[in-house]
């Protein structure tokens, strides 16, 4: 079986799994005052320090959460709630955010009467900073929070976070970045980026599912989503998941330490994949920014094919990939990312995402290239229903 869906989830790194199992055997609530509690607390704080060090943040800026989605929600809703006034009630987002951000922003608009501005992207999926500049000039004082992902989860395009943060800075607008696809895959330095908040997720980089973190600058306040013991800076409540946190730190530290070498390896494999797909299926369209993109991401449209049909046929041939992230009730919707990039609805439904990860080898690419032409031939016969 060739697994080419590492952006959905990637296997745990052996050292992260070891750290998880080792820590899960130990007793202790990190909030308890006795010896067991202190041991658990020490594990948590060491993990916090390791993550901070790996990402150019201060330990006190790391807030552990139960998922990347929670971190995104906490940043977007929490910062908006804290900063909103009668005159300042606008959330700025982009047209290509993951649902964890997009739906949180939409909820603020629908349910909390926030004004929402969505920044457009170009054909390669890059946010239009000229539109942002004009918006900041015109409505800078109305904005509570600006959110822009670091790297797009579907087409892999990287966004100019440092540039965007520098533009927002004179207006005093905190910038949140969903870096869930970026951390461990491209260089991420929180302090250098100028962002006020950054979300990451464990299972996208070799850590456990159900772990995540929000890096939140110390001067940025957020209203909590969850109320309770106030374990994490009074912003996030819930008994700390000590094994999850230890394992997350192990994965982040390893992924960041090996990022440069691993990125080069993946980019070479990915470029090979892209070249061979173009050869095997000449009318396939490579989507996203060809240069500034995630090293393990390749995203194609196959004209005349339905992405769902291709996925099923490849699945049957032992090759696992994705059509995109959008899915409601199992009904494939045309990807909002591709639509925002100017694709027609049919093209947006005819695409597949192949994402590589730490276990990926050339054999996976070979399996894909072997199975793809027949899958495309059959899917074309079936057409777009």
């Amino acid at each position: 079986m060739a697994y080419l869906d590492h952006a959905a989830t990637t296997p745990m790194l052996p050292q992260a799994l070891d750290a998880y199992v080792r820590t899960a055997r130990a007793l202790g609530n990190a909030s308890s005052l006795h010896g067991s509690g202190r041991t658990a607390r020490r594990t948590v704080e060491e993990a916090r320090e390791r993550i901070a060090e790996a990402l150019g943040a201060k330990p006190g800026e790391v807030i552990f959460t139960g998922s990347g989605t929670e971190a995104d929600n906490l940043a977007v809703k929490g910062v908006h709630w804290h900063r909103r006034t009668a005159a300042r009630n606008r959330v700025v987002t982009t047209a290509i955010e993951h649902h964890a951000v997009a739906d949180a922003v939409a909820w603020l608009g629908d349910h909390e009467k926030a004004d929402v501005t969505e920044l457009p992207v170009d054909k390669l999926g890059r946010v239009d900073t000229a539109v942002l500049a004009a918006l900041l000039d015109e409505r800078g004082t109305e904005i509570t929070v600006l959110t822009c992902m670091w790297a797009n989860n579907e087409v892999g395009t990287l966004q100019p976070i440092a540039e965007i943060a520098a533009m927002a800075e004179p207006h005093g607008i905190p910038v949140h970045t969903d870096a869930i696809q970026a951390v461990g895959h491209v260089p991420v330095d929180f302090a250098a980026s100028g962002a006020a908040a950054l979300a990451l997720s464990g299972h996208k980089l070799g850590g456990p599912t159900g772990t995540g973190a929000l890096i939140l600058r110390r001067d940025v306040k957020a209203v909590p989503l969850l109320h309770g013991g106030g374990q994490e800076r009074e912003i996030r409540s819930g008994t700390l998941d000590v094994p999850g946190i230890a394992s997350l730190a192990e994965a982040v530290a390893h992924a960041v330490r090996t990022q440069q070498v691993e990125s080069q390896r993946l980019a070479l494999l990915r470029d090979d994949l892209v070249a061979r797909i173009r050869e095997a299926v000449p009318d396939a369209v490579y989507n996203g920014d060809p240069e500034s993109r995630l090293p393990g991401n390749a995203h194609f449209s196959f004209p005349g094919c339905e992405g769902d049909a291709l996925l099923m046929l490849l699945d049957a041939a032992g090759v696992e990939c994705a059509t995109g992230s959008a899915c409601s009730a199992g009904i494939a919707q045309p990807s909002h990312v591709l639509l925002a990039m100017g694709a027609e609805a049919d093209d947006a439904r005819s695409s597949l995402r192949f994402t590589l990860g730490w276990p990926t080898t050339k054999a996976d690419i070979d399996a894909l290239v072997a199975a793809l032409p027949e899958a495309v031939r059959r899917a074309k016969t079936a057409g777009l229903s």
């Binding site: 769902d308 049909a309 099923m312 046929l313 699945d315 049957a316 009730a329 199992g330 009904i331 494939a332 059959r378 899917a379 016969t381 079936a382 057409g383 229903s385």
Partner: protein, 359 residues
Amino acid sequence: MSGGVDSAVAAARAVEAGHDVTGVHLALSKNPQTYRTGARGCCTIEDSRDARRAADVIGIPFYVWDMAERFHEDVVEDFYAEYAAGRTPNPCLRCNEKIKFAAVLDRAMALGFDAVVTGHYARKGDDGLLRRAVDPGKDQSYVLAVLTPAQLAGSLFPLGDTPKDQVRVEAEDRGLAVARKPDSHDICFIADGDTSGFLKNKLGRKEGEIVDAASGEVLGSHDGSHQFTVGQRHGLGLKRPAADGKPRYVLSITPVDNRVEVGPREALRVDRIRTGAPVWLAAERTGPFEAEIQLRAHGEVYPATVTPEDGGLTAKLHKPAYGVAAGQALVVYEPSEAGDAVLASGTIDSTSSVEAAGV
């Protein structure tokens, strides 16, 4: 796999028969409801989950195919148009004709599959003919009678030889959680079962008269002729009883005048039925022949002489039928010990009664 017990057992049986089976759930609504309520409606997210869990237990891959647009165009819009034209459509039949054994079958064939397996209760004989199921109460050959021989050739109905209660037992034995799920009834896209309200929403309200067919006397009013079906007795809202005290039925609907005619049951008597272009599932006949005909799903069977003529079928009934609505299918069966075989079907265009006309 609808999420019901029949398609789940059909899938399990197909696997056991040695086929390489993939489970497919059809998404027929762009905005599915989260949960089903009672036996009504279908295609909720919960149904999709039930289907997926059945596929897990059977051990086959499972996908949702989005047929919402096709379903809306070919089944729901057709449903509106038929009622608006004063006819009474059968959307399940239309769905089989246009979706399950057309769009789905075509797609499946193109993708490399050999057939579509469904949980319909019908049999396919060794001769390739469509035959009634063993369980007369569940027989669905009527709603499958619109299939062409080519569509039928690409279909498998593994449940046709088994009574429904045994299918439930089998589902239980196989560990399928849907074993006790209630059967779905009514029209799947009308979640609350209120067909009249559903039609009013789309086709609007328009005041019209309810008229006595014999005397021409105006007996009452209605707010849209499309809410009525020929043969309907209830929901007419007539305040005065008929002079003879007998119930009155809808005899005819004229959408152009938005006029509904009512009268006694005898006036619903029909012994001649005309259809549009027939579909032949067996070898096409050219001259008159004796057969049995069925005029609605799970309806009564009538011996008749059927004559192919003028591009349609004419059936001369040997005993009268009552309340036959245009738009329903006339299905021609050849009685047989091995299960009555479907010979042909056609959509009912018009009806008449030679006896009532005094001929």
